[in-house]
Every structure is written in C-alpha cells, then in structure tokens.
C-alpha cells in the first residue's frame, strides 16, 4: 500500500539500538549529528514516532534531537516486567549513549513526570527541563465517597489481575488501519483523523490478518498502585536548572486535569509556567509551532 504521510511529519534521520541491562531500546534521531543534543521522552502508552512533526522543527533550528521508545513500546524490546523505576533506568542508558555532558531534556505526560525524577536524581546530567503537560496533581483523582472509592479499587484490581491471567501469549487485536486510528481516537479525541492514521502507520505493524499496535499487550492502562500524583509535583521545587512547564488547558481523558493553581506553588525559582488555552494533553501535536517556538526560545 502507498505510504501514509502527514503535513510536516518526517521519519527520523537515524536509528540505533541501546542496551539497557538486557533490554534493547530503539533510539531515533533527527538533525545533524554534530549539533548539540536534546532528549525527547514520550508519554505512557505512546512511542517516539509521535514526535515526527515536533522533532524535525527542533532539528531545523540546530538541535540533534534524540528520542527513544520506552521498553515494550514502539520498536523497543518487550520486557518481562514494567515499572516507573525501570523506565527511568532505561532513560539513563539512552542518555549515556548520547553524551557524558549534561543536556536539555523534554518530556511529555508520564515521560515528563519521570524526567522530573531523573533530574532530581542526577542534576549533573541535565541542563534544562521542559515538561509538556506532565504534571499530575491530586485533582486528577475522582472526588468520590470512601465507599465508592473502595468499590472502584476492587474493580480496578480484579480487572488488572484478570488481564494478567488472560494475557499470557495473547496478541493485540488486529484491525484495519482506520479501525486502529478510530480506537486511538477514543483516547485522544482532540487529534485529527489524518494524524491518527499516520500514527498507525508508524506505531503499528501490518500482519497477514491486519494491523496491530506494536505496544506489548501486557501493558495496560491502570489506576491503582501506591503511586500518587503529588509525588511527581514534589520533584519540581527541588530542581535547580531552568524549568519550562507547559499545560494544555482543555480537559481530556488521558490528561491530568492539572490547573495553574496546582503548579504555581511548586514552581522552582528558575521555573517558567505557560498555559495553552486551546490545547489538550498533546500540546506538541496540537500546536507544534507554538510549542516548538516556546521550547527553542527556552533552550537558547
């Protein structure tokens, strides 16, 4: 079939593998290898190809843009286990493969949240942090009575365990390219159909019985565990390097529902906060030029 294109989208100029303690990670790059590096980190349930419009804009401005697929996502190896800490460890492996010198890091959503932790753990490796709608707040949790909360947790837990019982040797459900785009559109209702179709062509593979997202079927959206949103926000005030925090103000399913009043008390002295009124969770996909301009000004 003919290749699917999207205005401004460009596949990376180079790709390579990085070993993270036995897990092979797919690392992709845009721009001149001699330019200063900047690292891009994608969000949960996502993959590095989602930067195909945003990354080339940074590359065109003189940056070597490096992104990678998290373990189990995109073209990286599937792992036996997945965790927040393992993702951050993988990020260190990618950084080690780029440079010993500190570099700027941009992270979206969960990736942005994880990079706050990385920057606190290793401030000597990070010059600047850009957080794109990756600031969870307490507000994102349902405000319901205790009894209802217990019931929600019960359903969440049995759902998660049932999934783990059933997922052994399972594959993702196949479909046509349009069906996959439509499924993804339910989680990302603000993204255009053309973009979602393009995403399928990058983040899914075509088998004999149809298209399948490459993401490991073991990975499941879930809302339980000891982790709580404010733990990520607590990393923010600790950061001594310049920080740019960008929030999309339009609420949506995958977003955190965080508002300026949740962020401003935690903004560090070197922090800058920007809210985009007409953007949802995927600020860099909905408004790539605006976000690229903000980021480039901040990086320079």
């Amino acid at each position: 079939m003919s290749e699917i294109t999207f205005p401004g989208a460009r596949r990376p100029d180079r790709s390579r593998r990085v070993d993270s303690h036995g897990i092979g990670l797919s690392v992709i790059e845009w721009g001149d290898p001699g330019d200063p590096p900047v690292l891009l980190t994608h969000g949960g349930f996502d993959f590095a190809g989602t930067f195909d419009v945003f990354a080339p804009m940074l590359a065109a401005a003189g940056w070597r843009v490096v992104a990678w697929d998290a373990r189990g996502c995109g073209d990286s190896d599937r792992a036996d286990l997945y965790s927040w800490e393992a993702d951050i460890r993988d990020a260190f492996a990618v950084i080690d493969s780029i440079t010993d010198a500190p570099l700027p890091i941009i992270g979206h959503s969960k990736g942005g949240s994880q990079m706050l932790q990385l920057a606190e753990a290793a401030p000597h490796r990070v010059t600047r942090i850009v957080n794109l709608d990756g600031l969870p707040s307490r507000r994102s949790w349902p405000d319901v009575p205790e009894h209802t909360r217990t019931k929600l947790l019960a359903n969440e837990l049995s759902g998660w365990l049932d999934h783990r019982r059933a997922v052994v040797d399972k594959q993702r459900k196949p479909g046509t390219l349009d069906e996959l785009a439509e499924r993804r559109g339910r989680m990302n209702p603000r993204l255009t159909k053309d973009w979602l179709r393009y995403l399928v062509s990058v983040g899914a593979r075509e088998d004999e019985d149809g298209w399948r997202w490459k993401i490991d079927p073991m990975i499941r959206m879930g809302g339980f565990g000891p982790w709580r949103p404010e733990w990520s926000m607590w990393r923010l005030p600790a950061l001594g390097m310049p920080v740019l925090a960008v929030l999309g103000m339009q609420p949506e399913v995958m977003g955190w529902g965080t508002g300026p009043e949740d962020v401003l008390p935690y903004l560090p002295p070197n922090g800058r906060f920007v809210q985009l009124e007409d953007a949802g969770h995927f600020v860099h996909i909905e408004q790539p030029e605006v976000v690229a301009d903000l980021v480039l000004e901040f990086l320079t």
């Binding site: 965790s83 393992a86 837990l157 049995s158």
Partner: protein
C-alpha cells in the same frame, strides 16, 4: 508444579498433600519456599504449598528488573488460579503481598496471616530522595539482584495498605480476613493492625481460626 504469570514461570511447591483448602506460604525478600512445613503450620488440616516469587528460588527471573509488590500480587493470583481458595501466610515482603492479594481477591483468599521476615518495611511510606540504583556488577541470582534492589525500595503508604484491609473486610465475608502476627510493625503494618477486622495473634492461633 509450574504456574505461568505473564512471561515468568513460577515454582509452586507442594510441601504436604491433603484434602480441602490449601495453605499457601509466601516467603520473604531474598528467600525461597521452605523445604518443610514450618512448625507454626503443622496443624493445618489441608494441603500445604509454597510459592517461589518471580526471581526467587526455582522461579524464572525477568530481564532488567521492573519489580513491584503489585507484580508479586499477580504471582500469587496465578498460584490461586491453580489452587482455588487458599489461606495465606506471608513472611516479610510476602506478608505485604499477602495483604494485597487478600484485598484484591477477597473471595479466593480465606484469611491472610502477616508475619515477620525479610523485606517487611519496603521503602517506607513516601518517596525518599531519588537515585539511579544498579545491582553490584557481576551479581547473580537467584535471588535476582534486581528483586533485592527494587523490592527493598517499593513505597508502602499506610492508607494504601489500609484500603486493602477494607476490601478484604467488605468483600470476603470473613469477620477477620487479616491477621497480624509480626512483632515488628513498619508504618503500613501498624496502620493495618489498627483496622477493624484485623486480628492480632500468633501464626498458629490465626491458622487455627482460618482452618475452622
């Protein structure tokens, strides 16, 4: 016998044959299933089994870690799929995991006894200062060095642990689905011990109640 959890093969050992509801023993961090029935479980009337957690004993280990206590909860659920209803005794880390399973599968777990053992406290009640931690070069298992590193740092908020007690109390139909036998009480366990529906008793006494 081998039970499968995701991509991991878990060793489920039968320590004693018998009829009726099984007693399932869960070891502490870095330990493995015991070879013999522990003294406190000698009077259990039914079969007695013991599970090797992921990365421990004869179970297989994942590549490059990624452990959480919730993953080990899935280990126990895989064992329950094979055993049906069971009563749990957990040591240390296994005690915390027993609590999680008792809350998550309240109709399959007929009583969970939480006992002292390695890995009882975990990484405390809220995140400490983050660091990049790697196992010592050349370290090999079992137990998997990643398990020792990650499961000694997983965070166990007291209110999170309490929510599992409430699930067990609300949905198990038992008066006291959780028993605390541990002498040492890290914050999560102290919070558990004060919840309604939690019995504080030695392992043998708690098992006697659950056997009835």
């Amino acid at each position: 016998m081998i039970v499968r959890h995701g991509r991991i093969d878990l060793a489920l050992h039968r320590l004693r044959a018998g009829e009726g509801r099984a007693l399932l023993l869960l070891h502490g961090l870095g330990e493995r299933a015991p070879d013999e029935v522990p003294a406190a479980a000698q009077d259990w009337p039914g079969p007695i089994c013991a599970l090797d957690f992921t990365g421990h004993g004869e179970s297989t280990a994942p590549k490059s870690g990624g452990y959480t206590s919730e993953i080990l909860m899935g280990d126990v659920d895989a064992a329950l799929e094979a055993l049906g209803e069971a009563t749990l005794v957990g040591r240390g880390l296994g005690a915390y995991v027993a609590l999680l399973v008792a809350g998550a599968r309240p109709t399959l777990v007929r009583g969970a006894v939480l006992a002292d053992g390695p890995g009882l406290a975990g990484g405390g009640h809220s995140p400490g200062s983050p660091a990049l931690l790697l196992p010592p070069a050349g370290a090999q298992g079992p137990p998997d060095p990643w398990a020792l590193l990650e499961l000694s740092r997983d965070i166990r908020p007291p209110d999170y642990a309490q929510s599992y007690v409430r699930l067990a109390v609300q949905f198990s139909g038992l008066d006291t689905p959780i028993s605390v036998a541990a002498a040492v009480r890290p914050p999560w366990l102290e919070a558990v011990a004060t919840e309604p529906g939690v019995l504080v008793a030695p392992v043998a006494d708690a098992l006697q109640r659950y056997a009835e």
